[in-house]
Amino acid sequence: MTTRIFGSGIRRREDPRLITGRASYTDDIKLPGMLHAAILRSPYAHANIRSVDASGAAGQPGVVAVYTGEDTDGVLNGLPCAWLIPGSDLKTPAHPPVAKDKVRYVGDAVAVVVAESRYQAEDALEHIAVDYEPLDVVINPKAAAQDGAPQIHEDVPNNIAFTWALAGGDTDAAFADAAVTVGDTITLQRLIANPMEPRSALAQWSAATGELTLWNTSQNPHIARFLTCVVTGVPEHKIRVIAPEVGGGFGSKIPYYADEAITAFCSMKLGVPVKWTETRSENYLITTQGRDHIEEVEMAATSDGVITGLRTTVYAGLGGYLSTASPGVPTILHGLMYSGPYNIPNISGTVYGVFNNGCPVDAYRGAGRPEATTLIERLVDLVAAAVGQDPAEVRRKNLIPKFENGHDVATGITYDSGDYESALDSCLSAAGYEALRAEQAQARADGRCVGIGVSSYVEICGLGPSQVAGAVGFQGGLWESAIIRFYPTGKVNVMVGSSPHGQGEETTFAQIVAGEVGVDVDDVEVLHGDTDNTPMGWGTYGSRTTAVSGAAIAVAARKIKEKSRALAAHLLEAAPEDIEYEDGRFFVRGSPDQHKTIQDIALMANVAWNMPEGMEPGLEASAFYDPPNFTYPFGAHVAVVEVDPETGHIDLQRYVAVDDCGVQINPMIVEGQVHGGVVQGVGPALWEGAVYDDDGQLVTGSMLDYALPRADLLPEIEVHSNSTPSPHHPLGVKGIGEAGTIASTPTVYNAVMDALRPLGVTRVDMPLTPEKVWRAINDARNGG
């Protein structure tokens, strides 16, 4: 019989095709007659285009066609922004897929060559002559918002795309009355998402049928179909988007890009399949980046360290254009989380969304929440230092006490369930916090620079109730749907609209079905990623796939169970209320021998030889699940570092994570998400950052210059978990995809600042590279 498959760390069914090199990612697909596109990109961060002469490319070997903005203008529509936050005076300047008059960041598309081979297409790019008139450039988002800054879009004064404000309680009074106030300016630098698979699009147009098929590295194929329709004008039902194997995304494969539209355009013009795949260098220039915040923040507290207020002004860089979801990230997903896991009665914030001459910025793992958690956790540490108390104790006294069903915070949202103190306690005890502090005191006495960082966090995920989505200007729903279909042999297909790309939901979704209706997990196949054989859904991001799509599957499975119960009652000649269910068997109460298995039911329902009056044949159910609230996973993390004051080198020695993502379907996968998430947050604390020079050239333009975490730089991450079920979710799950990234940046940052405090260092911008740390130490030593 089936074991307890739901909740067990079974290995993933995705893996055999991946470990043997038999999986098909977009760039692995070859179609007969397929041509290759290469896109000419602006070398200037800001320039007017005087002219484009593509004639030189046309005769190059293998070249089939060359198109410029003149060709796409009026054929392709502009790229839409899909998160129109209300009450913010949002400006949505035009974003043509191919720039015709002006370029606004290095990488803006200017022309495209289609050729028989990728090599030929790239060669021909050199033969396109573009006459640019360079303009002044601005990169720093605060500088971009000042009077006199170079204006990037004509109709957007001071480059301010929106001003979003948040107010809960009376912050001014809280600060006026506070015994203690602390403040800081925190830079959350631009980050490059770096999924290992570069983006790719393969478009196949059929003039005969009017159908466009697009293979695309997308986290959300149904949104990609919708936006392909908006941009190309091909009717939605004639577009098929397939996200085959997708090699990570981390948010950067949510947006709809110019490149997809251009590739589709080329195929529609030429009537043959056309493929475009970015190089890694292109990825660094054009695939949406994350963060880019300058945060001026203050916290008010009592002399005993009880937090009374939080005030922020944030300049959020948007890049040269609005990307698909960019306005929602530094506002809804950021400001609404300003209370963190704490009771903060008075909160206010102003966020300026500012255009600058960099790559467009959009959601990147954590999206808004790492930016919020970092500022909160930094300020809590400053409060602790100001009142002379242990940072863990200050956290403890401010944490919202345990609650099981709803807690309102000053930003106006309602957390679902939380037990923040248990998470903190578990983490402190797993880390051996008291002993660590004692060791630290000894190390300091010995002249060594050891630091301990603590952070508590809560995040918002499981996005989300569609009504709320509408109210906050998201131009779509946030529900998910699932179809569960039983075949006569008792085997099952599950079709979902979300689109996992590394998170393992082909496995966890099968575990849900197995857990609900008692089929063998191996008898369940999960289909996703192809808009032609999956029901509508909004995609995989925001730690929402298991939370929302998983709920849809659970609801559909329960419908299957109810129909099966009714059919079993009919076949067993009993009343439905007398039918009990256990482990895939329906039996008459008191006589378990008289039973029908779910496979018996599936067969009968499919052949329909003997059905109860009025029951439809088939054993299939679908569910549309619109969550009643978001889910709010939480936890506490501790990091230990040692800084070499002579070199500024940081040794991350220990990392302890306690996360509470509610009920776990597959603990092995949860742990893997924590590992990866933590490392993606450690990266920006210590190494990662996209750097543009004053001319808007990306200095960190390759993996040589952009320092990604590598295996030898990391300690073993100690992962623990608690489980506080979400009260409103059918399975009690919350989501774990982003938690590690949200918690680890401030944890490591706080650890390093803790190490540097005795040296008098009060501020170092992330990433905390040896050079910056060394300079900060020297400046402090020299009285700076």
Partner: protein, 157 residues
């Protein structure tokens, strides 16, 4: 200008006429049709293109096809028949050593070289041995566990 080449890939002779500048990874993917070997970067940093060239692991994006002519190449498709798995493949599966899987072929090829040179490495040595391969999903920890596990099972093979 094209030149004739012949490379034995996974025991099978693959001949072709290629441009002198063609990268071996493109020959493997385009000419031989073996797409398990990935292209993750254009600066020889990521390791997703790692194969074995005459028994030594190499980033196939740093080798020209013409340089490899006459050589023998093993790719991820060649280390097992896809059914009976190589111990490293099995260990990556058992230890959740992959998420999106894009780095995995290169990671397994690099790990197999590592184990050939050091059949029972410490976790620290595994981390150092794999520093030329980037994984953005796993945080490496389970990859290290997988290689450690495989080393145990292979018993110094």
């Amino acid at each position: 200008m094209t030149v004739p080449v012949e490379i034995t890939i996974n025991g099978k002779a693959c001949a072709g006429e290629v441009e002198e500048r063609q990268l071996l990874v493109h020959f493997i993917r385009e000419n031989a049709g073996l797409t398990g070997t990935k292209v993750g970067c254009d600066t020889s940093q990521c390791g997703t293109c790692t194969v074995q060239l005459d028994g030594v692991s190499a980033k196939s994006c740093t080798v020209l096809t013409v340089q490899a002519s006459g050589s023998s190449v093993t790719t991820i498709e060649g280390i097992s028949d896809g059914v009976d798995l190589h111990p490293l493949q099995e260990a990556f599966w058992n230890n959740h050593g992959l998420q999106c899987g894009f780095c995995t072929p290169g990671m397994i090829m690099a790990a197999s070289e590592l184990l050939r040179n050091n059949p029972s490495p410490t976790r620290e040595e595994i981390r150092h041995g794999l520093e030329g391969n980037i994984c953005r999903c796993t945080g490496y920890q389970n990859i290290v566990s997988a290689v450690e596990d495989a080393a145990g099972k292979m018993g110094g093979r």
